[in-house]
Amino acid sequence: MRLDLGYVHIGDVRFGAKTSIEDHFLSLDRRELISLLEQESLFERVEIEIAHPGDSCRIIHVLDVLEPRYRLTGPNFPGALDGNGLVGDGETRALKNVAVVETDQLAPRSRSIIDMSGPARDYSPIANTHNVVLLPYPKPGVDKNDYRLAVKKAGLKAAVYLAAAARNIAPDETRVFELPPVAFNQGPKELPRVAYIFPIHSHQHPTQQKEAVFYGSNIHGFMPTVVHPNEILDGALMFSYSAFTWFAQNHPVILELYRRHNRDLWFAGIVLTVAPVTISEKERNAALAARLAKETLGADGIIATKIGGGAVDTDLMMIYTRAEEMGMKATLVIMERYPDTGITFVPENVNALVTPGLTRDPITLPSVARVVGGETLHLDNSNPDNTNPDIPPLPANREITVWIGDLVGAISQVGASRLTTYMS
């Protein structure tokens, strides 16, 4: 199956009379996009702001981030936005240097921040894109969870709306993603076959009934399964929490395996799984995911990433152990959270870990001229470790000391970051 992902490079985004792209300049009809998003019955009204790289601007209460994408032959985000269908083939347009940023107006405790200037910019690609920020204000009395799903859907609508402006424009750059069916092509014998085992959710925070995670499904009871990597890149997956959907569309491990495919490895494919809540289900999923990598994809080695909280360290270690018992080699990518121990535990047999960074590492961000997405942060400026529910709200435009993990896109559990860690 082959996906042609055509990037139109965008140099600037401004509000204008009509939504169009000309000479790498995206003009955005604010009224039209607002009308589209205000169709959602749970919203009282929607505002849209634009933040440019280099602006003295802080975006707060970020819920999710998306790259604008438009599939020329449809469907877009099937199951979640459009009706049923499949993705990962054909031609898709993407806007480079633009992101849709959803803010949650019912999450005052959220610490997800994007600073468009200052030291934060070095850490995240999302601080360097032209960000179209959605501010959907809920009607009074709306259920918080239903509202959250509505915001996520609004993000999808906006992402498609923006990229649709590129539908008749020749891409500046096309990336081709092609992998044959496993049955027909095992690759040259000298290239090791590498599979990626990908937990997409941890049910310690169960998805809502109507939540769309994978092809519109709420993935309750999801069993490990093989899918084509293009489906992840092309809109089949929306993270529920714990990672930003941008990093599914731009999945660092999938992109890296594609980059080296048929060079120093053969990309054997991917196995999706979830982290369940009981130990016996964790054991079952880990074993089955490893089995699929070995016996269906024929992998010599696997990489696995994590999603969710400390509980999922257990799932990862199980995947590693089962994989190696089956005769494959394994390497894990695990985000560190604790300045003292890094992660929860490492059994003796696990000797190959890569860190995308430590979340609880403080960074001081300068005061800013403009805040988008809210006015205050739930933050103890003298101690970012303070999670006391009674912390008074802090004006968000000040100089603040937060965790590097609070910066959107700085450290992604699926392995996106520019970092490593050391013991000081």
Partner: protein
């Protein structure tokens, strides 16, 4: 600007005497003595060693609090910018003294301080988290290079310059992880690591296994029928409204919930506060997190002697190991004092 430096030595390096002089109390020598000459050389024009202070190793060990007070008072008189202590190499009593005095100078007087000793010195395990300790190794042959490292690090601290990594500056890792920018992104490093593993090449895992100082398990409980059993949880059970303000994550304290006369946990009297799991089920029936109803029945049926009158609770999400250990110890002390002999701890 030249900084003012005080050097702490023990009785031997201060050239008072050997083991027979280890009981000597605090003293000082204006100017340079023994290793403080090498320290002055290491500082060069950047600083002056204005005094050498000392204390006998035994005196310190036997009068620790007093000795620290005395040394701090003496240091304060000199108004130095920097305290250098040791290096103590393998000498445990000396190492402990260096560590304690540096820590006190830092905390009480706000003075930059650097100690030196071997990484296995007991003083290092006690103090490395709180002060910079340059690794001297065990051999006195390393005196001069160690003092050079100590001086360089001390100067950086005084000038508030960024301190580099342990390997670069020569100090013992203090157990605090930090981020740094990497030459290659994590996904690329993961693939590199896997390919190295497949080839059978050497590679280095990026996260060291955390070490926990586990305790010895208690002996099996005898006589359940007469035992007092307590319920403890890390699921974040709290009284409705969370009056003790238990944190949803990174806990620093626990709450004590009275359950005498309570047969079952009512949904409207209790809450679960915890950022690491969806508390909806626990909120609808708190017995799903702390099995109070069952324990009360078992008490009535005579299976256990008595259910302890208090449930101890905290939230376990992202607990720092130090805090978790402290909370556990505090709860255990209370339970022991109350005659509890067995605990069921429920964990989410």
């Amino acid at each position: 600007m030249k900084i003012r430096v005080v050097h702490y030595l023990n009785q031997f390096f201060a050239q008072i005497g050997g083991e027979e002089k280890a009981d000597i109390g605090p003293g000082f020598k204006d100017g340079l003595v023994g290793p403080s000459r090498a320290l002055q050389q290491a500082l060069g024009d950047n600083g002056d060693v204005i005094a050498t202070i000392y204390c006998g190793d035994n005196y310190f060990a036997e009068h620790q609090e007093q000795a620290i007070d005395e040394q701090c008072a003496r240091i304060a008189e000199y108004k130095p910018d920097l305290l250098i202590a040791g290096p103590a190499f393998e000498s445990g009593r000396y190492g402990i003294a260096c560590g304690a005095i540096c820590q006190a100078a830092q905390q009480r007087l706000g003075i930059a301080a650097v100690a030196g000793m071997d990484e296995d010195n007991v003083g290092a395990s006690l103090h490395r988290k709180n002060i910079y300790i340059v690794n001297s190794g065990t051999s006195i042959v390393r005196m001069v290079p160690t003092l050079q490292r100590m001086a360089a690090l001390g100067l950086k601290l005084v000038r508030q310059e960024a301190i580099g990594k342990p390997a670069d500056e020569g100090y013992l890792p203090r157990g605090i992880k930090r981020n740094e920018f990497a030459a290659k992104p994590p996904a690329e490093r993961a693939v590199d690591m896997l390919l190295a593993k497949l080839r059978g090449d050497e590679f280095l895992s990026e996260i060291a296994p955390p070490k926990f100082a586990g305790g010895k398990p208690a002996a099996p409980l005898r006589n359940l029928k007469s035992a007092v059993i307590a319920l403890v949880t890390d699921g974040g059970l709290v009284l409705e409204g969370n009056p003790d303000k238990i944190e949803p994550g990174r806990p620093t304290r626990f709450t004590t919930i009275p359950v005498a006369g309570v047969d079952s946990l009512d949904a409207d009297k209790y809450d679960a506060v915890h950022s690491g799991y969806d508390t909806a089920f626990a909120n609808r029936d708190p017995n799903r997190v702390v099995p109070l109803d069952t324990m009360r029945e078992l008490e009535r049926d005579g299976v256990i002697g008595k259910l302890h009158d208090f449930v101890h609770s905290t939230g376990g999400a992202h607990a720092a190991v130090e805090n978790a250990t402290l909370i556990g110890r505090q709860i255990a002390e209370r339970l022991k004092a109350a005659g509890v002999s067995g605990v069921i701890l429920t964990s989410t």
